[in-house]
Each structure stands twice: as C-alpha cells, then as structure tokens.
Symmetry: none
Subunit: 641 residues, 2 copies
C-alpha cells in the first residue's frame, strides 16, 4: 500500500498515511484532537482543514462553500490522502481543551489512550515505572451534536458514536437503567453529558451518564479485606492521588478470630448472612468516613477493588465457603467476574463496579496475588520471598520464572487480637519497648505519643525480644524470674508493661504466659512455613536475594528483634524490605490500571499453591520453631552471638 | 380527597374512585377493558357508557346525540365521578379480549403464519435453507470430574474448563446468583449439571445452571408486538419446532389506537407505567397460555425475541417515547442490548434473556427489520417491495444492493378500528361481500360462518370494491344512489350491509361516508407512500419484480379488489406474494440463529429511512390517491378496463 507523509501545521507534526486514508484518521494518529462531533460522517462540518500542499480527493458535501473550496478548505473526514500533504488545522477545528493545562490534559487523556505516567506502588522503594494509568472507571465529557432531520440516529447510538471518537472499545454495554433516562437527560442538559465507563470483563460498560461535565469528580476505592483488619483507601482516579486511608477491625471478628471458625459459623442458620453483613458494615463505615472527610459525593465513587483471602471474598459475596475447609479444599470461585458493588452490599454509586482480585486457591487468595503484583516478585531475576504476616499468613517464593505460595495459619496475635492487652497499630498502641536488664523497669513509646492503651504487633515483638534479653522469659516462653512487675494471674504468670496508674487506664497493660504461647505459635507458623517452602524448592535461605515483609504492622517492625524472637530468618539485614500493606497497594494498582488487572489475572493463574501439610517434615519444622528463636540455634547465628 | 363507589354493570364490579376522576380511569382500575381508540381525548366516541344512578359531570362534545343524552349515555373519558355511581358498560364499548376460542385462533392463525417446521419463512417460495441452527440460548450437559488434591481448581473454573471443551467462547460471564449456588449444586448432584448459555452481546453468559440433564427442555419465545395485535410463538429450541402460536389484542388499545395517541398518553402521570403494564400483561397471558397448554415449566423458557415498531419497544422497556413524535423524530435507542426478560417484566425463567430486534428509525422499527429478514428482500437480485399493512404501515423497497424504507400512517381502519361497524378479523367478522348491481342486495360471508358482528379489514376492501362496481359510491367515495339500504345518518349517508334483524344484533352493520373517508385515507396513505418510494429511487412499478404483502389481514385479502380500490398498485397479479406475519417470522429466525441475529443487526444499519413528508411531491401524490382507485386512471389500466 502506497504511503504518504502528512504534515500538520502549525504543530509541524508529520505522520505516514496510506493512500485513501482520511485526513481525519491521519490527524488522530498524529495525536491531534480534531473536532468530529458526527463521528466522521460528513454531517457536522466541525473538522474543516486547509490543504496547503499536495493532492487530495474529497467527497461532495453540502457544507464547504464555493468560497471555502477556492481557499482549499476541506472536511478532514471526507477527504483522502493522494500525495504528501501539508495540512493546516485551524484552531476552530480542534477539540477545545484550552481550559486545561498541559498537565491536566495529559491526565485527562491518560485514561483514554493509556499513555500517562506510571503508577508507583510503593513510592520510596521502587524507582522505575510500573503500570500505565487507565483506571477501572473513566469519565468522558461529551458535547453531542443535536439531532437534525439529516442526522436523526437514536440517542443511544449518538452517544456511542461520540464515544468511539475516543478509541476502539471492544464492545460497549449499557444497562436499561441508563437507557431509560437518556432521552430526557440529553435534552434537559443541552446534549452535554459525562459518561462513566467501567471495564467489565471483555466489555466496556457505561456505568453512569450524568448531566454536564463531572469529569473532575471521579473516585475509586481499594480495600484489603483481612481476617482481622480491613483497610480502605479513597483514590482520586484523575490525579491518582490517595486522598485518605482508614483501617479498622473486621466486625466479623465477633464470629471467630480465624477463617476456619468463620467458615464453621457460616454454616449456622443465618450465619453466612451475618458474616456478610459484618464485612460490608465495616467497609461501608470506612467508605462513609472517607467520603465525608473529603466531602465527596458517594455518587462520584464509581468503582471498588477488593483483595482478601479466599474466605473473606466468599463471605463478602455471600458465597458458601464451606468447601474451603473440606478436603480437597476447593473454593466456589477464585476468579470473580466484575460485579456491581451494590450486589455485594457495598455502598458507593448504586451502579458502580466491584472487582475482586483473583485468588490462587482456598488458602492463597487475592490478597497474595495483589501482594505479588505490588512487590513485583514476578519480575525479579533471583529468588525472593514475600511474607505477608496476617491472621492467615501467606508466603510466596519465586522470581520471573516461577512463583510458589503457601499459607500459614498464624492467628491474629500480631494484629493485637486474642492477646490480653493487644490492640491494632493505632494511636496509643505501645510499639517500642525497652526493659532494663537489672530492675526490669520498662520504657516504651506509643503511636502518636498518646497515652498507652495497649500493645500492637510490633510492640509485642519488641517486648518478647527485650524479655528474652533481660532473662525474664526463657527459650520456651516461660516467665522464670520474680519482681514487682511479675505476678501470678489467671493465665499463668504475667509481666506488667504499664500499671494502670501510669497509663491512667482502667487496667494494667500486661503480657501473660498464655499470650506468649499465642505469639510463639504465630511466629512459629510463619517461620516454619517459610523454611519448608524454601526447602520444598530445594533452595536455602542464603540463595534468597530479598525478603519482602508485608502486613499491617510492617511499618513499625524492628527487624533485629523479629529475628531475635525467630519470626524471621537470620539473614543479612539488607535483604529485608518492608513494603507495608502489599495487598492494599496491589488493589490500588488494579484500581488505577487495566494492565495491572490483566497482570493480576495472569499471576493468579501462574502462582502454584503448595499445601504445607502434605510435606512430611512440616510438623517437625513447626515444633522446632516453637522456641525463641528456635531449637536449632545454628540457624540463628547472630542471635547466638 | 373525597372518594366514591363506582359499580360497573352488568359485571357488578365496584371500585373506589376519587372525585373528579373519569369513569374511564375507574373502569380501567376495575380491570374492565373499555374501548378508547383516541386515548381518552373524547374524539373517537367508542367509550359510551350509561349512568344508571348517581351524579356525574361531563364535558360537552359533539358525539353524544340529544337522544343519547336523554338516555344517560356519556363518554367515559370525559365524564367525572361526583357521587357513588352505577354505570352500565354496553358490549359495544368493550374490548372483547376473550371472544376468540382456541379453535378460532388456530383457524385464524393457520393461514396467517407460516407453519413451517424449519425456520424457512415461506415454505413454498424459498427452497434453500436460510440460517444455520444456533439458538439464542443453548443447553450443555456436563459431567465434571470431582476435585482432588491434585486437581483442586475452584468450582467455577472447573465448570468453565468443561465448557471450553465445547468450543472457543469469546468470553464467558456468570452472575453472582449462579456462582452463589454453584458449590452446593455441584456436590448435591454428583457434579452433573446442565448449563444454559445465552448470547449476550459480545459475551456468552451462563444464564442458568441446573442439576442433572435438562437439555431436552429448552424453549424460547418470539413475539410480534403490534400496535393493535400481539402475536407470540413458543418454540422448541432443540427441534426448532413451533409448539404453539397465540395472538391477542394489545391491551394498550384502551389507551389509544395508534402510536401517536399512545405516546401522548405515556406523557401523562403514570401513563408510561400503565402502557408498559398493558403490553407485558398481554404478553404474559400469551406466555401463560402457551406453556400451560404444552405443559412446559416456565423455568425451561430461557429466552425471548421481540420485534415491534419503535414505539412498542420503547413502551415494552419503559423507555420514554416522547421524542419519537417530535421533530427531528429521534428515539431513545434503535439497538437495544440483550437484557434479562425480567427487566422488561416478561415472565419466563427469571434469568432468561430478551433480545429486541433492532429498528431503523422512529417510524421504521424492528418489525420491519424482521420483515426484511424473513422475506429475504435483502437477497433479491431485482428490486422488490415489502408492504406491511398495519396501523403504522411500513414499506420497504430494495434488493441485495440497497434497502429504503418509509412509514405510512395508515391508521387502524383496516384492522377494524375507528370505523363504525369495524372489528378485528375474528369470528363473526364479515370478510367477503357481494352486492347485486340491480337491487343492491348484499351477500356476505363471515369468519367461521358465525352470526355477523361487524366488518374486518378484508371485508371493507370487498365492500368498497363492490359498492364501486355497483355504482353505489363514486370515485370520491360519496353515496350517489337511493335504496332501502341507503339512508341519511349523522355521519353522512350510510349503506346498511346487514340489518340488525338479520344479524340478531343490537344495531345495524353499516358503512357511512365518514367510514369511507377513513378507509380511503388508509388506502391512500399506503398506496401513495409506495408510489413515492418507488419514484424516489427513480424506478417505476413495472421494474419491481415482487411485492410481498405482510400484515395481520393478509390471508383474507382479495388482491383483485385491493387493486380495484387503489390500495395496491395495478400490476401483474403473479407479482404479489402473501407472507403473513413477517415480523413474527423474522423474530423466530433470530431466536433460532445467531447468524440471523447478526444479519438483523446488519440490516437495521443498512436500511435507509426515507421521510415521506420531505418529498416535495408527497402531498400531491397523497391527494391524488384519495379517490377509488386514483385520480390518474392510467395507473390502473385493468380497473379502467
């Protein structure tokens, strides 16, 4: 096919165009936003251009006047390229974005053409670009040409025609709700509307049609639905900025502290409904707080991405989770189609969409997929480990070639649940502890330096490490000394971190032997699972290049002390990278990028699930890790030293 | 608000009505189907009632005679309630929905609709197969392998994996409803299920998952939703057999006899809702009758295809039709996405799908698209014409290269509405008439040889033709002779076809000059539209190779007499082909074949709408056709001879 050079002025942009292609299509490929309200049908007359040099062929039309013809004015949509051309595009034929700065324009278009700057999942840690910006829901403002007797296509087709100017959509779908309102809406608002497009599996859905230009208000939410803690973020889908983050305890905790007890509860009468309501109530409270804090209309929140373990997603969607805990451990679904958020009881725009990040298996869920996505484990040359410490801990070992995951039932102790003075990492939580080796006096710091209210996960790690170093507890976690802070309680001996008089609280903040047992099992589950997984792949820890630590308490984690108690393997400290809530970060990426969503789908397919309990060495490994740091001290050389 | 009791006789039904409400609205709320062709505007005079007791207030009108006023006859639409009332509704003011026996229907339908076993629209005329069999909804029986520890993919992916063995689906979608039930269903029924797949735009949707093998039971429905008559067919999607056909009156007729009065009614308070309910009530009654007659579970009916004019489809989907009648005549949508039938209020399987055949413009709807499809106009080498004679007549001229359509507002006269003794083509309708040229005595035959109740469309054509031949009326339709059957009436002179003594009825069956005027306008609208369309394309009738006549009265139409009165052009009789309800035939093809659906989409895009009123010669042509057969007799050489 013969090709010609078409130069557009005054931009001085040159593109190649095949013979017989329209000037309009050449302009589009040059990235010039040319007016074409009628979609290139030669009706609207908005795409007039002046051909300064070269040969063209043009269809007759009733729009170009004889005077204009003399001056080489043509309709770009009806005029085809027959030689190299120089074409002047007057300002009047350009789509008027003049109210937008170039930066704003860039952002506006990025959703449509996928060519904006990239999203960085964890700002400080990864420098290079990850995914392009193409959010789950995009808004496009359209000024439709009014229908005439010569252009009397239906309202819906008029809308579609205008949308198609913004790109090739695989298929556009619209619900009856929107269609029913369309006629009045277009006429009442002078044919100026904003269309919210959502990606729904293989089609693009018109989620919403609003009067006027509402493109400035396009928000989304991402959630990490943890067994114990639910975290949500409100994101401006235009600027990609995180407007706010909230975390709170999952109200489901009232029905059991781990996924197994929840699954059992779900089988009771109304159990599934209660668990479903508990998780949506928690989420809706977070949403309500976030939107009211930022004075955002709930109707401007058009989409939600949720990651969570497989049981959490089942409960969110009122899907029976019972088979997750029965051999051969099969969930109802790992890949959930895009749904309306309202179908799951999530209160955003009633037509807004919900994407659940796909999971791998019954015990490795979408939160792990999201974590692998945001940690970029799947791009690494060398083997790396991702440890997500939560009530259900997940460990992934892999690189660009392979990804293997296992699950460790750690329990909620490190999230401050199920331990006597435990609390979530929030204001007033003791997060750092120092114990004087002589008189066992305690110094501590709290989050936001507020009056102490309890102990969070990182506080417990500090506390255990200090108690070990001070000789208050032995390797097995038993309290072996006496002192004014040590006393006999209902659950064995206890050590008072902070008397109620100091804290000005109702009761002492303390740790007892039952708590220590609990914490020991948690850290043992995580460590042994990690060790088994490494051995299963015939590797050893020394060949692992990075260990990414994720989880709600990651920010406050003292790596030295986590190794001291045997939660983490005793490796070079530089190998550890804290990445915070990697599940939330991954779901945010999916919220902001269709490519990230596709990658998540691919990862969920690629990650192999390894069932720990089938490994013959598992019970031994677990038993050995029920000591601080471990029965086998050769594994912890720096601790021994 | 003051409320009164209105009792309708002889039904003895009592309803409460607010003061100042019309008797018509009270009758509607009592469920009485009262005639109201003009939509309650006090014009048609069909809703006469007798107020036996109580006080009313009535607007003056030119319809109630002084004699009637003495006898307490009122128009129900213009008369409001001012006290408790007893109101007699005579038979002549009722829409008789229940008068057709199954046998009457069957007889009427046997000729009207092609009874072909396959999907060939007109068996004798087209030899070759049309579309391959790929129904709108397909069932596949699956025996899934039970999950094991080594094959523990989720239930949903297991289902998808099995489905993919049956072919490459573009994308499979499933609703949350099905996913929620999946786990239990698979395990309770030994991993043996039947999946119903429906085509939904660009994806294949899992409509339903049922236990065991239910593939033998897969049914669909097709409908022609006419302004006056609604016809539905139950089809076995496996065998492609038509199991049954039902036709009944569109209950919307109570709100006006043509699309314009319906559109006006829709703009009233609750008007759209009432019209929507009327059409779905009619359809649901047809569905109920069909499934109970054939002992089919409603849950086995998985899909519906509907064709209808653009206004009918808007009302079916509760879409505001108001802009259809306002310049530039733009409907809300011509192409409707596949919906759930339940969204439109159609009672089949609650998750079953609905496809509305795409339309061309505000006045050329999906019924025309379906007609072009089933008549195969789009495959013809030579130019052919499709004339669909209904309340809104549509004419399509074209062949394999071009298709141009126009709409002629023929009015309901040929459907027996808006004329003094008019009735629909059912038992007791006079369908054939012979008039003795000397004494003007009348011989007639009625449908099913029942006692005469009125005159149907084909009867009027016979009657006019005979009156012309006998010299009773002149070219202009004026009664020019005297005789015992001829007398002066309120609406000009009238000719009595059947005295009430003969018919044993309440009143004479007659035709008056106003009726003749009405019929003349109807036939003139159809003929002139056809002539203009032919001329618009620079053709003449002699170059047209076939004229397909479609519509509800096609079976009874005497072609010779239709030419005599100037309804059809005077061409070689062998060029005329009756194809019955081509809209229903087309929607059945789409029900049975994805290719037919794609073709319908392409046709709706391809057919060009020609707006008659913009043709400068239109008014002249129409005026000239307001004679029997025409002012220009050279156009009707056989009539002149």
């Amino acid at each position: 096919m013969q090709k010609f050079k078409v130069t557009f002025l005054p931009d001085n942009l040159t593109v190649e165009a095949e013979k017989d292609k329209t000037i309009l299509s050449a302009a589009i490929s040059a990235g010039i936003n040319i007016n074409s309200n009628c979609g290139g049908d030669g009706i609207c007359g908005r795409c007039k251009v002046i051909v300064n040099e070269g040969q063209v062929s043009s269809q007759p039309n009733g729009i170009i006047t004889p005077q204009e013809r003399k001056n080489n004015v043509y309709l770009a949509c009806l005029t085809t390229v027959h030689s190299d051309l120089k074409v002047l595009i007057p300002d009047s034929s350009r789509i008027n974005f003049d109210k937008l700065t170039p930066e704003e324009l860039e952002e506006r278009l990025s959703g449509l053409y996928s060519k904006a700057e990239d999203i960085q999942p964890v700002k400080e840690k990864f420098e290079d670009k990850v995914f392009t910006h193409s959010p789950f829901a995009t808004k496009i403002y359209l000024e439709l040409p009014e229908p005439t007797l010569n252009d009397s296509i239906s309202d819906l087709e008029r809308l579609y025609r205008a949308l198609r100017q913004y790109g090739e959509f695989p298929a556009i779908a619209t619900g009856l709700f929107n269609i029913r309102q369309l006629g009045e809406l277009l006429r009442d608002y002078d044919w100026k509307v904003t269309v919210t497009l959502g990606r729904r599996n293989e089609t693009v859905e018109i989620v919403l049609i609003e009067p006027g230009d509402t493109t400035a208000n396009n928000y989304g939410l991402c959630f990490d639905i943890g067994t114990t803690t639910i975290s949500g973020q409100l994101v401006d889908l235009n600027s990609k900025k995180i407007l706010g983050t909230k975390a709170t305890y999952n109200q489901q905790a009232a029905f059991g502290s781990d996924v197994i007890t929840r699954i059992v509860y779900a089988a009771k009468t109304d159990g599934l409904e209660k668990l479903h309501n508990a998780v949506t109530d928690t989420m809706n409270q977070i949403i309500k707080d976030l939107v009211s804090e930022h004075r955002i209309d709930l109707n401007s929140v058009n989409c939600v991405v949720c990651s969570g373990n497989t049981t959490m997603i089942h409960l969110l969607l009122s899907m029976d989770p019972s088979h997750i805990r029965r051999q051969p451990y099969v969930p109802t679904a790992n890949f959930i189609p895009v749904l309306r958020a309202a179908e799951a009881g999530i209160n955003i725009n009633p037509r807004g969409l919900l994407n659940c990040v796909p999971g791998v298996s019954s015990y490795v869920g979408g939160d792990t997929t999201a974590g692998v996505l945001s940690s970029r484990l799947y791009q690494k040359e060398e083997a790396c480990i991702l440890i997500d410490i939560g009530t259900n801990g997940e460990i992934v070992l892999g690189n660009k070639d392979f990804l293997v995951a296992c699950a460790a039932s750690a329990g909620p102790a490190f999230e401050g649940s199920g331990v006597s003075s435990g609390m979530r990492a929030s204001s007033g939580a003791i997060q750092k502890v120092n114990i004087d080796k002589k008189d066992f006096s305690v110094k501590y710091s709290t989050i936001q330096d507020a009056a102490p209210r309890g102990i969070c996960g990182s506080g417990y790690i500090d506390l255990l490490s200090e108690m070990l170093d001070a000789g208050i507890i032995d390797k097995a976690g038993k309290i072996k000394v006496e002192g004014k802070r040590i006393r006999q309680g209902e659950n064995g001996k206890e050590f008072v971190v902070c008397f109620k008089e100091e804290a000005n609280s109702e009761s002492d903040i303390l740790i007892n032997e039952a708590d220590i047992e609990n914490l020991k099992r948690s850290k043992g589950a995580i460590y042994s699972a990690t060790a088994i997984l490494v051995r299963h792949l015939a590797l050893d820890f020394s060949s692992v290049s990075k260990i990414f630590i994720a989880g709600g308490f990651g920010t406050y984690l003292d790596i030295e002390k986590a190794i001291r108690i045997g939660l983490l393997p005793d490796l070079e400290r530089s190998k550890f990278v804290f990445i915070g809530n990697s599940s939330l970060a991954g779901s945010r990426q999916i919220l902001l990028s269709a490519q990230a969503r596709d990658m998540a789908d691919a990862l969920a397919q690629k990650i192999t699930y390894f069932e720990l309990s089938v490994d013959p060495g598992y019970m031994d490994e677990y038993s050995q890790s029920l000591f601080f740091p471990h029965t086998d001290l050769t594994r912890f050389p720096t601790v021994r030293a």
